[in-house]
Structure formats: structure tokens, C-alpha cells
């Protein structure tokens, strides 16, 4: 046996490789069982990126179902509350081109809103409570209802069922602690980021008008 191996080093190599592959195969198989990932991680990740408004505008009964649908190949631009920012992050996660928001599902609001019940007009019918996916409405039958503004996602679903039409969607005001700086305006000006030598030859004529600025 030893002689055979000594004479034909090729056998030695084959045996060594074979043993290695068996060992590693075993380790991999064990790891696959031992470290099995529960659930569908991509769905979890997608769900994490969605805004959790649970408004159903995407056509699914909540954000998780939409996350599942995306994982199964649905378009990623159906969520108006998330808007372009969410589309971009999802596109980055899935490594696809980011489309713009599908207008069919509604428009992105620039200011977040909350529902506010005009309390003296509330008759305590509990209809809005049943519609609220967030459990954000407090009240009991024949008692005045009110919205817990901190929990309301502004999904709009409570407005329609109200028989006295006393729920308003009120834009949230920015308070001092929420105020933040805006990006400086010229950042949107693409020409600003082009140095003359950067300009592509065939774009030169378009850049003509910016010359004065760049000089």
C-alpha cells in the first residue's frame, strides 16, 4: 500500500483530497443543521425597511405582507408612506435599480400626519377603533374617543368609517427639537459637481452654459 502510494504520488493526492472533502462536507452539513436560520431573513429585512404605517396603500393588508410580496418578486415602489427614501433603501438591499414611486398607489406626503378626533362631535360608535390597525384610538361604546397621537401612524383608515365625519388628518408640526437643517440648495445643481476636466466630451455643449459659473 505504502509502496503504491510512494510510487504513484497522484494516489496520495487523491486520497488526501478525498479525505478533506469528506471532512469539510461533514462540517458544512453539521453547520447547516446547527445554524439553521429561522424564518425568511430577506422578508425580515424588507419589513424592517418599510415604514410600518400599515395603511394598505400598497395593496397588501399591512407592511409584512408587502415585504413578503417583494421577496416574491413584486415591484418595490408601491409604498407611498415610505416614499422615495424607502424605495432607495430597498433597492440598495436588493441591489436593483431604484424606480420612482408608483403613482397608482398614491402620492408621498411631505409632512407626516396624525388623526385627530373632534371630541365634542364624537358619538362613541367605536367604528374608528375597529378600523385602526395600530390600536391607537382610545374609547368605549357611547364614550368620547381620542387618538393617541404618539401611536398613530397617519394611515387614514379611521376617517371613512366615522359616521359623524369628526376625524381630521392633521399635519404634524415640526417642533424645535425635531427641527433639522436642510441640505444646502446648490446640492441639487448637478453642474456644480462637475469640474471642467470631468466633463464628458459629448456633454461639452450642454456644459457650455455653465462655463461662466465654473470659471
Amino acid at each position: 500500500m505504502i509502496d503504491l502510494i510512494a510510487q504513484h504520488p497522484i494516489y496520495a493526492a487523491l486520497i488526501a483530497l478525498g479525505t478533506l472533502s469528506i471532512v469539510f462536507g461533514g462540517i458544512l452539513g453539521f453547520a447547516a443543521v446547527k445554524f439553521k436560520v429561522e424564518g425568511d431573513p430577506i422578508v425580515e429585512q424588507l419589513d424592517n425597511l418599510l415604514p410600518q404605517t400599515q395603511c394598505g396603500q400598497c395593496g397588501y393588508p399591512g407592511c409584512k405582507p408587502y415585504a413578503e410580496a417583494i421577496a416574491n418578486g413584486d415591484a418595490i415602489n408601491k409604498c407611498p408612506p415610505g416614499g422615495q427614501a424607502t424605495i432607495n433603501t430597498i433597492a440598495a438591499l436588493l441591489d436593483v435599480e431604484a424606480p420612482s414611486l408608483d403613482a397608482e398607489h398614491g402620492a408621498e406626503l411631505d409632512i407626516p400626519r396624525v388623526a385627530v378626533i373632534r371630541e365634542d362631535e364624537c358619538i362613541g360608535c367605536t367604528k374608528c377603533i375597529q378600523a385602526c390597525p395600530m390600536d391607537a384610538i382610545l374609547g368605549a361604546a357611547k364614550q368620547m374617543h381620542t387618538v393617541i397621537a404618539d401611536e398613530c401612524t397617519g394611515c387614514d383608515l379611521c376617517v371613512e368609517p366615522c359616521p359623524t365625519d369628526c376625524i381630521d388628518m392633521v399635519p404634524l408640526e415640526t417642533t424645535l427639537s425635531e427641527w433639522k437643517w436642510n441640505l444646502p440648495e446648490p446640492s441639487k445643481n448637478v453642474a456644480m459637481n462637475l469640474i471642467a476636466s470631468d466633463k464628458h466630451p459629448h456633454r461639452a455643449e450642454h456644459g457650455e452654459s455653465n462655463k461662466g459659473e465654473a470659471a
Binding site: 368609517p161 437643517w181 459637481n193 462637475l194
Partner: protein, 855 residues
């Protein structure tokens, strides 16, 4: 005395840094000047980082200088004191010095010109006091870091138990151009600075190293401090360290690195390295608070800039309006380029001079147009790398700039954007004049916002999932109960069968004791029960009749009502018994239950469809029977006819429901099977359908749609109003209000529609009948539209029938109620009668409409 004047401490260098023109001489020519006592002070409730203070005075209240007027809310907050004596004239939103130019809640005090102080609690020897008492003094004095950020000082003096502080650094650097407030403070009140430093050191448990760091461009201040330190009797280990001037050596982390050589890592707080850093202003304020009991009500501010006649440092009461300060220093508004609070590097432009001086206002800069011209427009980044060389935090500003532009927050964080101290050194050196700091501030804001949003969305998810789980659980419980009932019924049947068998086998033996089965439907027992109910109802009816006969005339009405009620009850009981008998006779109970069960387990769609099928089948049979009865001239014709009508009604109703459920099949494919008839899901369905429909609609169509939906809602609400009225319910008004509003909306929508396209009008569904039809094509379109509208409206005829039926039952109910109310002389009789009349009118209307429709 361990302090050695000649000792030279080794100082270190920081990376980067710049040397902007210092421009400090202008304001140091004149000594510290007082300003007139202001006529009015405006004191923002939030002059610090953390929760705003809470006002504890009321409008109209008299306050004295130094009185606490707003107390801190929680630990991370700072109190506020009246800076003049007078009357609180308002507590309201006023413009405050903030980059946003927004308003915030302020307490406004009108001066009485007296400046009467509250009694101050002086303390000769603070070392005799407990640490807690000392801390309380500092906490109630309203101290917030006076260097710029306004961090509550008491928190910094209260390091976590596991952070052993061995170094106290007092920051007298003041590296920003123009500002000389701390310089002036150190020159004029060097003793107080040294005393304050000793006090802070005492509070921190006497750290081994106590340093006062001053840039070497303030020789006068350094000399004054050294003199003051040398004059202290007894133990004093304060070192006054001077080091080369360089911007921004006054940043906390930068100063620590200069004085100790220790670099505070990304995300670390100095306290975790055993270092605490305070501003000289804070040290003095702490000293005054403890020694003299004086809260923080004034500060030294630099008023500088070529647009002013007098450039100097002033001691000013907190809350004095900046416009007042400027006026007293000869402000030429025409010359001023802008108004800056803070220095030219880190300050911000004020949009309005009507804002007050706050605890953190160290400088008001009013430069002329030549002095600080508007920054030239930004150019493209040429990747020169000068910003990276200037950055004291060793960041890569140009990278951060690119990532900020592309809003790539992950990369920004990976490049430690959060370590940027917003010093502006990078913008200062940038040859392309890019406002880099503004990009960083915006990105930092966006990152923080994203974190907040993430938190909120996580909480939303949790709540949503919890709700879902709760609904599922309720559903499961219901299902379990249903199952239990079914099982019990089956068992009861089995038992009954067994009993029968046994009886057959052993007729002489007494039957086994009945096994008590809760909720078991024993047909026999049930029947007996119903029969009992019927007989007792009949009994009552008889009695009522008797009493009616005996009754005095005035009680007759009441008695009559009772009789009527009793009659209804009897009828009810009879009906129930009948139903039971038929059900019992037709089919074994189990079969019925099985059928019901099968139905229940079907999705709502299939359920409805199958019920409709079944009804239709029954209807055909009934129709057959009817025709045969007719031919035979049997007496049952009428009854059969009535039954047939009823069935028709039922079918119509079910069909309506089916339509209500929506164009299911398409949706069913996408929606998960578990779409329970949960109102939220239903609402989502509706929203979805709406969104889908409105997307490919023209505005006119959308309006139509809106109008239909409003009309629907109006109809619903109108019904509710009627009911509420009839019941004399208190909600009637509210409902009516809602109804009015909806009507207004409807009118508006209609008006909009009219405006939108006059040529569309003739095609509108409402006007189809009356509208002139210009040509065949448009007529066809109109017809198609009408058809669409008809289907959308869910078969008006059926709807009407449905309405009529519901009206009739409601009228019946209300009639009973009215009679009862009348008999009892109740005061809601009128309201009820009104509701009844209205309902009757409505019924008539619906009937006539139906007649019209079927014609």
C-alpha cells in the same frame, strides 16, 4: 502652596486646525460695560439641551429678581429665574435665538424698574456642606454650560459612580474669532474663576489634576489668573496652562487632547476617561450660586462688529432683547451684512433682532458688508484635500461631502460623521467655498430623524402584530366555542339515540338519569321550553286582557299597550316554536348543523354564493308548488306567494352582500386566505380599491367617484340620524352635524365637477336621463357610463327593496315603542313620533321610487 508659577506643563498638538484672523482687539478696547436694566425680558423655557423647564408662575404674578419662575422637568433639564423684578405679562410663544428661526414658549416679564432681589442664601464655607446640599444649590441655580451648547452643568458634575474623575479641565480657550467674553471674565473676575474651579474640583472629589487651559493670545487673562491662583491661601493645585493659539482648540475633545495628550475616542464621553471639562463661565456661575446664592440671571456677552459704534463686552441680564442691546451700542442697520449669534465660524445668522440673550449667548456679531461679505457661490470640489488637513477630528470632509450629497447615511456613519464637531475649519479652508458644515448638519439631522423614525416604526410593528395576534386569538376562541357547541350537540344526539335504544330494549327499566350537558341542544327539552314560553306568554296575554277590561278609563291606554306587547310576545313565541318544529321535522338537527358548519368554514364569498344557490333552489321548488296550488285553486296560494316573496328578498339581500364584498376573485389571489371579515382589513380593502380605481381615472371620474361615495355615506348617516332621532338619542345632533358637513362636501364636489368640465356634465350619471343627447356616439358613451354607474351603485332596485324592508321593520319597532311611550306618558313620545313620521315618509318615497324603477 503646591502651585509653582514656573512649572511648564507639556502640551500636545491636535491634528488639523486653522488660523483665521482673530479680530479680538476691537472688543477689548473698552472695559466691561453694564447695560441699562431692560424694560422687559423674554425668557425662553428651553435655553439648554434637554427637556424644557415648566413655568411655575402665572400671568400677572409679581416676581423678584432671582426668583425661580420655571422648574426643571426631570434630571436632564434646567430651571429658570427671573432676571429682573416686575410682573409676568405673558407666557407664550416668542421668537428665540435658534437656527430655525422658530418660536418657542417664553416667560415675558415687564420691569418695575426696582430690581428687587429675592433673599439670597449666602454660604461662607461650602466645604462644611454635604455634597448633596451643594449639588442642590447648583441644580437650582439654573446652570447650563455657558460655552455654547448649554449642557446642564449639574449632570456633568455628577459623573457615574464607576467613573473615577482624576482630571478637571476648565476651558478658557475661547478660540473662536471675535469673541472675548471669557477673556473679559478671566481678566475681571480671575478670583471668581479660581474659586469656582476649586469648588468644582471639590464637587468632583478633588481630582489630582486641575487645569485651566487658556490660549496664548490672552496674556492679560493668563497673568490675572496666575496672580489670583498665587493669592489663594492653603492647598491649591490649579495649573494654568497656556498653549499656542489655533482654531478649534476650544472644542472639548480637542482641549483634552492638547492638555493631556489623551484622545477621546469616537462615541466616548470624557468622563469615562476620568476627565471632566467645564467652561470658565460655568465655574464662575457655580461659585456665585454657592457662595452668594445667586442664580444664573446675567452673563458677559461680546457685542462686536463694524456695524456698531461701540464694540465691547457687556454684562447683560438674560432675556434682554438683542435689539435693545444693539441700540445701546449704536447699531447701524444699513451697514450690517447680517446679524450673527456666536462667532463667524460656528455661530448662526439671526433672522430677527427681536430675540433675547440666552444663557449660551456669548457673542452678538454685527459685521459690516466689507468685514464679513456673503460667501461666494460654491464651486465643484476639486479634491484638493485641504479640508482633510484642516479637520481637527481627523475626518475626511470631502468624502463626507459626497456622501451627504447622495444621502448615503450608512457610509456617512461609517466615516464617523457623528464625530464632526461642526467647527467649520473645513469650510474655512475650502478653496471652492463649499458650505461643508451645512451638509454635515443636514445629514446629522437626517440620521437622527431616521433613528427616531425607525424606533417609531418598530413600535408600530409591535403594536400591529400584537393587535393581529389578539384578533386571531379572539377568532380562535370563538371557533373553539363553536366546536364545543357542535360537539355537545352531537353528543346529546348520540345520547338521545342511545336512550331511545335502551328504552326500546328495556321498556320497563327506568331511564338513566339525564346526563347534564351544558349547552347541549336536546330537541325534546328545547321544544318543551318553547312550548312553555308560548303558554306563559299566552297566559300573560289573557291576564292583560282581563285587566284591560277592568281598568279605569284613564289607565286604558297603558293597558292597551301592555296587551299589544303581550300579543307580540305570543306571536314571537309561536314563530319560534314553528321554526323549531319545521326544522325538527324536516331534517335531523345534526344535518342542519353540519350544513351550517360547512357554510361557516367557507370563505365569505363562497358562503354567500352557496346561500344564494340554495335559496334559488328553494325558490324554484316553491314556485313549482305555487303554480300547482294556483291551478288547483288551493287555499294556500297566498301563503306560498308570501313565502316566495320573502325568499326573493333574501336572495336580493345576499346578492347585495356579495357585491359589497367586492370583486373578490382577483383580490383573493393576492390577499392571503386569512382575510377575516375584520373591519381593518375591510377598510384596507376599500382604501386599496379606491387607490387602484382612482389611479387610472380622469379628475372628472374621480369626482364622480367621490360624489358616489359621499352619497353613500350620506345615505348611511341619514339612516343613523333617523334612528338616533327616533330613539331620542343624544347623538342625533352630532350625527346631524356630520351629515350636514358631508352634504356640504357633496355640494362642493358637485360644484367642482361642474367647473371641471362643462362638457362632461351631460355624461354624468345623474343627468343621463334629462341630458340632451347631442349625437349617437356620445349617447352610447352616456349609456355605457350609466350602466357602469348602475353596477357601481349595486343595482338600485335591489338596494331600494332592501331599504324598504329595513324601513318596515324599523317602523314596526318604532310603532311599538311609540305606543309604549305614549302609554307611559313618556316625554320622548314626540321625538319618537317624529322619527316614525319621517320613516314612514321615507318608506313611501322608497316605494314610489321602486315603482318608478320597475316601470
Amino acid at each position: 502652596m503646591s502651585y509653582n508659577v514656573s512649572s511648564v506643563r507639556k502640551v500636545f498638538d491636535i491634528p488639523g486646525g486653522v488660523h483665521p484672523p482673530e479680530s479680538k482687539e476691537q472688543s477689548l478696547q473698552l472695559p466691561l460695560g453694564p447695560v441699562l436694566l431692560p424694560q422687559r425680558v423674554v425668557l425662553p423655557l428651553s435655553q439648554h439641551i434637554g427637556a424644557p423647564a415648566k413655568a411655575i408662575v402665572a400671568v400677572g404674578e409679581k416676581v423678584r429678581t432671582g426668583q425661580l419662575i420655571a422648574e426643571p422637568q426631570g434630571l436632564f433639564s434646567v430651571g429658570l429665574h427671573a432676571s429682573i423684578s416686575g410682573t409676568v405679562s405673558a407666557i407664550e410663544d416668542r421668537p428665540i435665538p435658534h437656527t430655525s428661526g422658530m418660536n418657542a414658549e417664553c416667560i415675558v416679564i415687564e420691569s418695575d424698574g426696582l430690581d428687587e432681589w429675592v433673599a439670597l442664601d449666602e454660604c461662607e464655607d461650602y466645604t462644611a456642606l454635604e455634597r448633596d446640599a451643594l449639588m442642590a444649590k447648583i441644580r437650582t441655580a439654573g446652570l447650563a454650560g455657558m460655552g455654547g451648547a448649554g449642557f446642564p452643568s449639574a449632570i456633568k458634575l455628577n459623573p457615574r459612580a464607576d467613573d473615577k474623575i482624576d482630571t478637571l479641565i476648565i476651558n478658557g480657550t475661547e478660540c473662536e474669532p471675535y469673541i472675548t467674553a471669557d477673556d473679559t471674565l478671566m481678566r475681571e473676575q480671575a478670583d471668581a474663576v479660581i474659586q469656582g474651579t476649586l469648588l468644582l474640583a471639590h464637587l468632583l472629589g478633588a481630582p489630582s489634576t486641575v487645569l485651566i487651559g487658556v490660549e496664548d493670545n490672552k496674556p492679560t487673562a493668563i497673568t490675572a489668573l496666575k496672580k489670583a491662583a498665587a493669592a489663594i491661601e492653603g492647598e491649591c493645585n490649579i495649573e494654568i496652562v497656556d498653549f499656542p493659539t489655533k482654531y478649534p482648540s476650544g472644542g472639548e475633545k480637542q482641549l483634552i487632547q492638547i492638555l493631556t495628550g489623551i484622545e477621546v475616542g469616537s462615541g466616548d464621553v470624557p468622563a469615562s476617561l476620568g476627565i471632566v471639562c467645564h467652561n470658565v463661565g460655568t465655574a464662575v456661575a457655580a461659585w456665585e450660586a454657592v457662595r452668594y446664592g445667586r442664580p444664573l440671571i446675567s452673563r458677559i456677552t461680546t457685542v462686536v462688529g463694524e456695524a456698531l459704534d461701540t464694540q465691547r463686552n457687556i454684562e447683560v441680564r438674560i432675556g434682554t432683547l438683542i435689539s435693545e442691546v444693539l441700540e445701546q451700542n449704536g447699531f447701524n442697520a444699513d451697514e450690517a451684512a447680517r446679524l450673527i449669534m456666536g462667532g463667524p465660524m460656528m455661530g448662526f445668522a439671526l433672522q430677527d433682532a427681536g430675540v433675547p440673550i440666552v444663557k449660551t449667548s456669548n457673542c452678538i456679531l454685527a459685521p459690516s458688508k466689507q468685514e464679513l461679505p456673503e460667501p461666494p457661490p460654491a464651486q465643484a470640489c476639486i479634491r484638493c484635500g485641504m479640508c482633510a488637513e484642516a479637520c481637527p477630528a481627523s475626518l475626511l470632509p470631502q468624502q463626507l461631502f459626497w456622501y451627504s450629497q447622495s444621502e448615503d447615511y450608512d457610509r456617512l456613519q461609517a466615516h464617523n460623521l457623528m464625530d464632526c464637531i461642526e467647527c467649520g475649519a473645513c469650510s474655512f479652508v475650502c478653496p471652492s467655498n463649499i458650505p461643508l458644515v451645512q451638509y454635515y448638519r443636514a445629514s446629522k439631522g437626517a440620521i437622527k430623524q431616521a433613528a427616531v423614525d425607525k424606533q417609531k416604526s418598530d413600535r408600530s410593528r409591535e403594536r400591529f402584530e400584537f393587535r393581529q395576534a389578539r384578533l386571531d386569538k379572539a377568532e380562535a376562541e370563538k371557533e373553539a366555542k363553536r366546536q364545543a357547541r357542535k360537539q355537545a350537540a352531537a353528543e346529546a344526539k348520540k345520547l338521545a339515540a342511545e336512550k331511545k335504544e335502551q328504552e326500546l330494549l328495556q321498556p320497563t327499566i327506568a331511564p338513566v338519569a339525564a346526563v347534564p350537558i351544558p349547552a347541549a341542544v336536546d330537541p325534546e327539552a328545547e321544544k318543551a321550553k318553547l312550548e312553555r314560553a308560548l303558554s306563559s306568554a299566552q297566559n300573560r296575554l289573557d291576564k292583560a286582557h282581563e285587566r284591560l277590561d277592568d281598568a279605569e278609563p284613564e289607565r286604558r291606554d297603558k293597558m292597551a299597550a301592555r296587551v299589544k306587547e303581550a300579543e307580540l310576545k305570543v306571536l314571537d313565541a309561536q314563530k319560534k316554536l314553528e321554526q323549531f318544529n319545521t326544522a325538527d321535522n324536516n331534517d335531523p338537527v345534526a344535518a342542519a348543523i353540519a350544513r351550517a358548519k360547512a357554510k361557516a368554514s367557507l370563505p365569505p364569498h363562497a358562503k354567500l354564493t352557496s346561500s344564494i344557490e340554495a335559496l334559488k333552489k328553494r325558490m324554484t321548488i316553491a314556485a313549482d308548488k305555487l303554480s300547482s296550488a294556483k291551478t288547483e285553486g288551493a287555499a294556500t296560494v297566498d301563503a306560498l306567494q308570501a313565502g316566495l316573496d320573502k325568499m326573493q328578498g333574501k336572495i336580493a339581500k345576499l346578492q347585495q352582500e356579495l357585491i359589497d364584498l367586492g370583486p373578490e376573485p382577483a383580490v383573493e389571489a393576492t390577499v392571503k386566505e386569512d382575510t377575516t371579515p375584520d373591519p381593518a382589513a375591510a377598510a384596507i380593502e376599500r382604501a386599496k380599491a379606491k387607490a387602484a380605481a382612482s389611479a387610472n381615472m380622469s379628475p372628472a371620474d374621480k369626482l364622480h367617484d367621490q360624489i358616489t361615495s359621499i352619497e353613500k355615506r350620506i345615505a348611511k348617516t341619514a339612516e343613523k340620524v333617523a334612528v338616533a332621532r327616533a330613539e331620542g338619542s343624544s347623538t342625533a345632533d352630532a350625527l346631524q352635524l356630520g351629515l350636514d358637513k358631508m352634504t356640504a362636501k357633496l355640494d362642493k364636489a358637485r360644484a367642482d365637477l361642474g367647473e371641471l368640465a362643462p362638457q362632461v356634465q351631460p355624461e354624468s350619471a345623474q343627468n343621463v336621463d334629462s341630458a340632451p343627447e347631442p349625437d349617437a356616439a356620445s349617447a352610447a358613451i352616456a349609456k355605457a357610463k350609466a350602466k357602469a354607474a348602475a353596477t357601481a351603485n349595486m343595482l338600485p332596485e335591489e338596494k331600494l327593496r332592501d331599504q324598504i324592508r329595513s324601513m318596515q321593520t324599523r317602523i314596526e319597532k318604532t310603532t311599538v315603542k311609540v305606543t309604549a311611550a305614549r302609554a307611559e306618558g313618556s316625554d320622548i313620545t314626540d321625538a319618537l313620533q317624529l322619527g316614525l313620521d319621517k320613516m314612514t315618509a321615507k318608506l313611501e318615497k322608497a316605494k314610489s321610487e321602486l315603482a318608478e324603477l320597475s316601470n
